[in-house]
Symmetry: C2
């Protein structure tokens, strides 16, 4: 996330988590507290995908997302491997444990306005071991949706006023590509 190579003169403003930066005539936002972002396409043995829902002040709506989190956001974890962060975030947010994950892509969130990049992992055969719901600063609802019904469920969520994060559909693409299971 280029934390160290932004000259101070290029910083327009900074808050606890974000920095508003100008470079080469372009302005954009970057995270100040993380070296990477991971998200997880998590499938149970029963062919359900595990999604999370939380209120997001910037859009003033509840948003359906892949389980996700920051990597290296704590002082003593700056070099934490992305995969370890992904395992930890999946467990914290959903209560599901993965024993293995595949790194399928690192994608740009919206490269005209932010340098955020997200690494997507696919985890199969995850197992429920805790209640989930995130840490004390988070208020996360966990959903487990049959892959055969996911399109209808996402459509209904949108009709009820919730938003869906773009990476949910990216994740479904990777699941569908790697699987013989019918997703839809």
């Amino acid at each position: 996330m280029n934390r160290s190579d932004v000259p101070a003169d290029d910083v327009i403003a900074q808050t606890a988590h974000l920095r508003f930066v100008k470079r080469d005539g372009w302005s954009y936002v970057e995270r100040t507290t993380a070296s990477g972002v991971v998200c997880i396409v998590a499938r149970t043995r029963e062919d359900r995908i595990v999604l999370v829902e939380q209120y997001r002040p910037p859009v003033a709506r509840r948003v359906i997302e892949l389980p996700a989190g920051l990597c290296g956001d704590l002082a003593d974890q700056a070099d934490e491997a992305l995969e370890i962060a992904a395992m930890r975030e999946l467990l914290e947010e959903t209560g599901y444990r993965a024993t293995k994950m595949r790194n399928v892509a690192t994608v740009a969130s919206s490269a005209g306005m932010t340098n955020e990049m997200v690494t997507i992992f696919v985890a199969d055969q995850i197992e429920k071991v805790e209640s989930g719901g995130g840490d004390e600063s988070e208020d996360i609802t966990v959903h487990e949706i049959s892959l055969a019904a996911i399109d209808d469920w996402l459509k209904q969520s949108q009709q009820s006023g919730k938003l869906v994060d773009a990476r949910v559909y990216s994740g479904l693409y990777f699941l569908r590509r790697e699987s013989d299971v019918h997703v839809g």
Copy 2:
């Protein structure tokens, strides 16, 4: 995009295209010049997807993206319908004309840091009528990739140092879901 309902006191900083805002203790970035963003999953009669590539200063890399653009970013087009904007952007950026499009979803780009939402359209049987490449402020390379080879092509692009936008995979999900054509 809530252009009008941000109290001036909540604006931390503003540039030509973006506004850095604080609301309810959260900071995030929003566009100042657009009421919406559209992107287009465009498929030719020969089952090729049309993608664009351009240099993005925030990530300091060339990025592979769906054709996309702002809606209502010009003073006289503030109420322009999203679908008309999508038709115009597809033509401007790629030289392809669509006669019909389906609105398949409106998704959040990264709802923890921006209020950006993108409406995704699918266009089939598009026809090349111009050279494309964007307007005078843009430097866009147009790619037409066989859907049967798209995964390998995206992997090679990443290996060569380019980034892929998350919405490319979201778009491939919608194509694959709606089609009998094998994508992969």
